[in-house]
Symmetry: C2
Subunit: 392 residues, 2 copies
Amino acid sequence: MTAPAPRTGVCAPEGFRAAGVTAGLKASGTPDVALVVNTGPDFSAAGVLTGNRVTAAPVRWCRAVLPAGRLAAVVLNSGGANACTGAAGYADTVATAERVAGLVGVAPDEVAVASTGLIGERLPMAALLAGCDAAAAALSPDGGAAAARAIMTTDTVPKTASVTENGWTVGGMAKGAGMLAPGLATMLVVLTTDAVADAAVLDSALRAATRVTFDRIDSDGATSTNDTVLLLSSGASGVRPDPVALTAVVTRVCTDLAGQLIADAEGATKEIEIEVVHAVTEDDAVTVGRAVARNNLVKTAFFGQDPNWGRILAAVGTVDASVAFDPDQVDVAVNGVWICRGGATGDDRSAVDLTPRRAHVVIDLHAGTETATVRTNDLSHAYVHENSAYST
Amino acid sequence: MTAPAPRTGVCAPEGFRAAGVTAGLKASGTPDVALVVNTGPDFSAAGVLTGNRVTAAPVRWCRAVLPAGRLAAVVLNSGGANACTGAAGYADTVATAERVAGLVGVAPDEVAVASTGLIGERLPMAALLAGCDAAAAALSPDGGAAAARAIMTTDTVPKTASVTENGWTVGGMAKGAGMLAPGLATMLVVLTTDAVADAAVLDSALRAATRVTFDRIDSDGATSTNDTVLLLSSGASGVRPDPVALTAVVTRVCTDLAGQLIADAEGATKEIEIEVVHAVTEDDAVTVGRAVARNNLVKTAFFGQDPNWGRILAAVGTVDASVAFDPDQVDVAVNGVWICRGGATGDDRSAVDLTPRRAHVVIDLHAGTETATVRTNDLSHAYVHENSAYST
C-alpha cells in the first residue's frame, strides 16, 4: 500500500472530490478532462466570466446557470475551447452538463462547464462524454492534483494553492499561460471552500479577489473567449467566517495562483511587476500600469535587458486625459534605480541590473495617493515562435 | 555637367527649396539634418501633432507656433528625439529654430522643428547647429530627395510622393518604420503645395487627410512622443483650388506616403489590410480594425501564415459595448475566403493562401452601413530582435 496523495488544490477543503483523466481530446495524449464535485452539505457558488464579447459555449452556459448561485459540480476539458461553434457547440456544452449531472445525480443546471483549447472547432463529443464517465468513476478526495494536470494546455506545471484558517480552507487550481498562448490563452480557475457562506457572500468575495489578482495580470492583452473563475462552497467545515475574512483568504489563494500563471507564461524570460504609485484613483493606477504592460516596445526592451525608461514614459503618455498626471512630474524606477525623474533623465541607468528574471518597475505619477500593481512578461522570440508556429 | 535631379517630394511644388546634410548626429554617419524652406509668396501652414501626452520638445514648439498658421521653414533632425529632456531640451529646440530663422531671414516662430531618434537624451547642439548652417548653404529646388534621406532612421528607403492637378501640386516626404522601431518609432511628415490656400483651409484639408491615412496605420499601437505632420503652402502656382479638391489631393499624397511607411515597417513579413464593413459608424469600424491590428495573437498568426479567424474574432470581441454588433453575426474573410460565417466556422480555411506579403482581412459586422480600413503588419522574430537588440 502506498500512502494516499495529499489533498491538494480543489480537494484541500472538506467536501470535495475530483478527478483528471485522459479522454483523447489532445493529440499529446495527456490528461484532458477534469471533474470537481461538491459533496455538500452546501452547494452555494459564484463565478466571474470573461469580459470578451465573443464568448465560448461553456461561458454562455455558466452565464445562464450561475445566477441561481448553486453548483454541485464543474467539468472542465482541455483540447478544445468550444468557442465560435454556434448553436451546435452550445448543444455540446449542454450535453456535457447533462452527462455529468446524470453521473453525479444532480440537475444539469447545477453543473458548470469550462473548456480551453483551439477556437472554432467542435469538440469530439463521444470522446468527451466517455471522459466524463471515466472522470466520475475516478472521483476521489485525493484527485485535486490529477484535476489540475488535466486542465493544462501549454502550461508547463500544474497550478494549485490553498490556505487554511481557523478550521476552514480555501483551495483552488488554475490553468493558463498568462495569456501568452494563442488559442490556448484561456485562464480557467476553480476555487473551493468548506467555509459556510451564502452565494451572495461568495460572489462579493470572488469579485473583490479577482479584481486585484487575475484582473491585474496581463501578458499580451489578448482577452480570451473562455476565461472562467468559479468558487464553490461545501460548507463542510461548519464554520461561517466573517465575509471580510473570507474575502481576504480567497484573495490570498487567487494571488498565489495568479503569480503561478505569470511565472509559467510561455516564452517569457522576465516577470515584470509594474507598480503605479501616487495616482488620483486606483483605476487610474491600473489604467497606467496596463498601458505599460501591453506596450510591445516596453516588453521587447525588457527582453533585451534594456532599462529603456523613455519607452515606459511614452507608454504612460498613451492613456487618455481622464487619467490625471503631469508628464513633467513623472518619475520611473527600474529595479530600484530612479532612472527617470520629473519626466526626464534621472539616475545612472547603468546602475540598473536587469539580469534577474524578476523585474520591478515603479511609476510615480505624483498626482494623488492611490496605488496599483499590474504584472506582465517580456515579449520574446519564444513568444513569437510559439504563437506563430502553433499549428491549428 | 550632370542633369539636375528631378524635383521630388517637398520640392515637387513650386516655391520650395530643401536640403539634407550630415551633421554627425547619428553614429552611422548618414545624413541627419533636413531643411525645407518655403520661398513664398504665401506662407500659410497647418500641422497635426502626436496624441501622446508625453510630447517631445519640438512638438511643444510646433504646438506653440502652429496657431499662427504661418511657416517659412521646417528643420528636421534624425539621431535624437529630444523627448523627455526637460527645459534644457526645449531650449535646444528654440535655439535650433532661432539659428534657422537667422539663416533664412525669418522670425523664429516661422520655423517648425521636428526631431526623431532616441528618447531621453540631449541633442549634440554644436553639431546640430553646424548642420543647420550646412543645410541652409545646400538649399536647392532639387533638394527634395536629399531632405527625405536625411530624416530616415530605421527606414530602409526614403519616402516621397507628389500629385499634380490642374496647375498646382502637393508633394511630401515621410519617415518612420510603421511604428515598428523603438525609440525611433516616430513618424515625421512634411507636405508642401504651391496651391493658394488659407491656413484654415490647409488645416481642415490636413486633418481630413490624416484621419483616414496616417491615423489608420498601426503597427504596434505604440504612439510616438514626436509624431508630426506639417503642410506648407507657397501659393506659387497662383491657383486657388476648391477646398474639396485640395483635400482630395492631400489625401492622395498622404495615402501614398502611409502605404510606403507600412511597406517599410521593420521586421515585417506581411502587410495586412483590415477592412471592417457594415459598422454602424465609421468610428466603430476604426475601433474594431484597430483592436485587430494591435492584437499580438493575430499578428503572430499572420507571421506564421495561419489564417486563424478565431483569434481575429476574439480580438473583435475585446472592443467595448459602445461598438454595436452581434458576435454571432460576424463574418470574416482572409484573402478572399470567408473562413468565418455567423461567428462560427465558414468556408474551408485550407483555401486561404497567406504566402503573399500582402494580406487582406474583411470583417463584416452586419450592423450598419459604414466602413473603414486599418493597415498593420505581422509580429515577427525580426520585430522582437530589432526592438530588443536596439542599443540605447
